[in-house]
Amino acid sequence: MSEKSLIVENLVYGGFGPVSFNLVAGECIGIFGESGCGKTRLLRSIADLDPHQGSLSFNDEDALSMPASTWRRRVAFLPSESQWWRDRVSEHFPLPPGEPELGSLALQPKILSAEVSHLSSGEKQRLALLRALKNSPAVLLLDEITAHLDSERAQLTEKKIAALQSEQNLAVVWVSHNIDQLRRVCSRILYMAQGGTIVKEELVK
């Protein structure tokens, strides 16, 4: 198969798993399960932020064959609550995003010079998405990223992700406890049980 794909094989992490699945470029896969079943931990392990067993590869390259920082630029993890460590937004962007990029998420260019403490959590979350995209990742790992957004903004984010899939061939793993959202954005949904194993797969489209 020549198509680029993320392969997760027998991933065991902190007492959860094993989990195996494949994801091809341009595909969005949903992970659904009760809180505490290990969804976030799964994404963290795929980003190599937590110790784990089993193997991870993208495009036939094993995660261990490259420095962790290279893997994480390629496989970008977005936590449910975005983090900021400087006073101003622009200081978190080595290359500031352009007007079209900001506009695609209903953000004004002047937001770049704003103080982080003055932003709403929704604005922060959308900026965090742009920040991660600056690394040109091939896979996005999204952890409940619309949890703090109103439904209008949430749908805007969903649209943005869909556009990235079709235009830039991005692969997406989307963790959510909102099954309606997953059915809107994903082509497949994996159901996770307590203990972190996949018990059911649902094809959506």
Binding site: D50, A68, R73, P79, Q83, W84, W85, A132
Partner: protein, 264 residues
């Protein structure tokens, strides 16, 4: 002329302090017990050290100097480890503190004895032991502050550090801000001391020399040397300990490993 202090004089010196401790105890401020223990510890520890040093100085055997130095370094390591809010598991707190103190001892005291003071032999206990003591005491405080800043900082900013890792920053870049705070906190006491010595306060060692009958100008030059040596020891010790400690907080895959720290 040197006025020798008798045990009676020591008792007289302690008397006002003891009265105050009694008053504080009467006010139930919860500090008098600690202070009283401190008074007794000072008496016992300094009496012992005075007696042991007399013996060490007399014997003029390098093994005694060496042994005494090792005891001081071990005591310093114990003290740094004891003061940690979140210890590293598996003896790493001890190893990291010991490494910093040894660096300070070898680099700063060794240099002072072999290059600056130029006594013969270089390990002469009368010089080696007091110099090492001054340097260790200050380095110990620095390392203790630096390690505490690192472990509490990383614990509190875990989400930020992991976000930065997720954005592809190497581990040591992701903790750079915290490491900077560590060194600043560790070196603040010596920075303050360098700035105010002689103006606001007369340093303890210089005061001791003057009271013991030495020329104030000689005492001042000794004090300058001591201050620079303390600065060297403190900076080198903290740099080594904080650098190694922040490496220990991550594994080979640049994952933040807070499981290597003890829970409070």
């Amino acid at each position: 002329m040197i006025v020798n202090l008798s045990w009676m004089d020591i008792l007289l010196a302690a008397l006002p302090f003891l009265v105050l401790i009694a008053i504080l105890g009467y006010m139930r401020l919860g500090v008098s017990r600690q202070l009283l223990i401190g008074v007794v510890r000072t008496l016992v520890q300094l009496s012992l050290v005075g007696a042991v040093l007399t013996a060490v100085f007399k014997s003029d055997n390098p093994l005694w100097t060496m042994g005494f130095s090792m005891v001081m370094i071990c005591a310093g390591t114990y003290e740094v480890t004891r003061r940690q809010i979140r210890k590293f598991l598996g003896g790493w707190s001890i190893a990291l503190s010991l490494l910093g103190l040894l660096t300070a001892a070898v680099l700063s005291t060794g240099y002072a004895l072999m290059v600056v003071v130029d006594v013969s032999p270089w390990w002469k206990a009368q010089y080696a032991v007091p110099l090492l003591g001054m340097i260790l005491g200050n380095t110990m405080n620095g390392i203790s502050l630096g390690l505490n800043t690192l472990t509490t900082g990383v614990w509190q900013q875990r989400a930020v550090i992991e976000s930065r890792l997720a954005l592809g920053e190497p581990a040591q870049d992701a903790v750079k801000d915290i490491k900077r705070d560590c060194l600043r906190n560790a070196l603040t006491p010596i920075m303050n001391a360098l700035a105010v010595c002689g103006v606001v306060s007369l340093p303890g060692m210089m005061t001791g020399q003057i009271l013991a009958g030495n020329d104030p100008q000689v005492a001042a030059r000794y004090q300058m040397m001591i201050m620079y040596l303390i600065g060297t020891g403190c900076a080198a010790g903290c740099l080594v300990t904080v650098t190694m400690a922040s490496k220990r907080l991550f594994d080979k895959r640049d994952r933040l490993r807070l499981d290597r720290l003890q829970l409070k």
